[in-house]
Symmetry: C2
Subunit: 303 residues, 2 copies
Amino acid sequence: MSQYLTINPKEIPTGKLFGYLTGTVTPRPIAFASTIDKQGNVNLSPFSFFNVFGANPPTMIFSPSRRVRGNTTKHTLDNVLEVPEVVINMVNYNMVQQVSLSSTEYPKGVNEFVKAGFTELKSEKVKPPRVGESPAAFECIVKEVIATGEGGGAGNLVICEVVLAHFKKEIFNELGQVDPFKMDAVARMGSNWYCRANGDKVFEVAKPLTTQGMGIDQLPEAIRNSRVLTGNDLGRLGNTEQLPTKEDIADFAANNIHLLSLKEQRLTEAELNLQLHYLAHDFLEQGKVEEAWKVLLQPVRFV
Amino acid sequence: MSQYLTINPKEIPTGKLFGYLTGTVTPRPIAFASTIDKQGNVNLSPFSFFNVFGANPPTMIFSPSRRVRGNTTKHTLDNVLEVPEVVINMVNYNMVQQVSLSSTEYPKGVNEFVKAGFTELKSEKVKPPRVGESPAAFECIVKEVIATGEGGGAGNLVICEVVLAHFKKEIFNELGQVDPFKMDAVARMGSNWYCRANGDKVFEVAKPLTTQGMGIDQLPEAIRNSRVLTGNDLGRLGNTEQLPTKEDIADFAANNIHLLSLKEQRLTEAELNLQLHYLAHDFLEQGKVEEAWKVLLQPVRFV
């Protein structure tokens, strides 16, 4: 039996497909979009079919898609077609319940800033106001609106150019870079699920070497086919350009307490290999790639 | 002094703007894109300027943007212009180091499936292969490629229609819905930061009422201006249509251990109010909105 469920989108109901797409294309950043209609009535609504797509010019797209049930359109879409401007406000954890409340389908003309208790700040370059509580807000001109279809669930690509950006100073570290832990962003997953980007679930991955790592295909076969090392371990090892020298490897064996203790045990070659892979795995989990190599390259008959 | 840093994108270097955008539009889902050139050479590369934008037709966009340094284009962009097909593979935690390795700038023609140790599975409706390790993979036809600019950092919108979707059965719960904890998705943040959507950082928010919650503007003033209740607390309270009856409130006071204990203390009206707000806050943090209302609506002279 296949381990996959394979689906032709044309052969299942749109609502069901929507569930699969929003469950697997995750986590999605949230555009908390402030718009106005011709009369100046303000609307504020969250959209997770959204992202940034380039920096020059700074381009963002969000999609107020047609509703699957009833095939109606959202006030945000009507508004940007009337007044092609929007402020895209970012959402952090402290705002999430109010943001959810603002997605209530209030009648046209209701101002969700008021209903959801957000602070209206005047924008400088566009007419819709921005959200005072947001850690970042982007005043945008709408360049184009592209309908991808006519039926329920069809997307409407609102292509925006950022003309002015506001960042709360509290999200920066002392070097002036955005600190993800201070940003405390919240994103959408499928169904009722949200994701808070913070705590131990935010982690760093060393950038690939500009000198080009050797790649997993160039790893020794015993490492590539290890029963202990994971894909993440191999990924870290493959991002290496230069292996430690024989001297470094010998030095390490003479001084590392774990290797010294392995030497004292009477292990078979297979047992020793296994123990070395476990030890290398531990080093890799800690991001200590060089140490892992020094373990893996030990001659197995090193006693 | 303003609490905001306000930036006109035209007045700062693109690289710096890129840092602000990728630091604040977070977390971004990752399209691990498999493409081929005219000769059939395979390329596999991750892009976080990506999302789903509609379900009918199922539409995804990713942007292999022009490099800020050197203004060169990526092999993925060259490929989709030659062969307008792509498989968008989703990324989970177990793959993240290999995915990062695959973003090494290997020379054209190098197959990152091989370099990064991924399994090539034959696609059914398009020519590029899909990634065997991915929890979900979308075979796509490229409908259009829109360049948003000519300079370094400019986005290239690769607009895709999903023609076949593959989901590993292990990501579904017993009801056939995607389980976010089994999906274990990984997303991009700014700089070297990634986010793993799992553990206690994944949480549910009750959908807004279709009957329309009262909104924060309709909450009693003492609640709206509480020094104890947070924005998230008010958001939950505002998502209420009907308040508990006087009988319910009295019943609750007669049986709730915390309220009974408050009654026994000789508190001033202000002290009692404060204690009630703390108690309501605790209930709201647990998602017990009805209980919170029963606390907040206690007559303050209830002894």
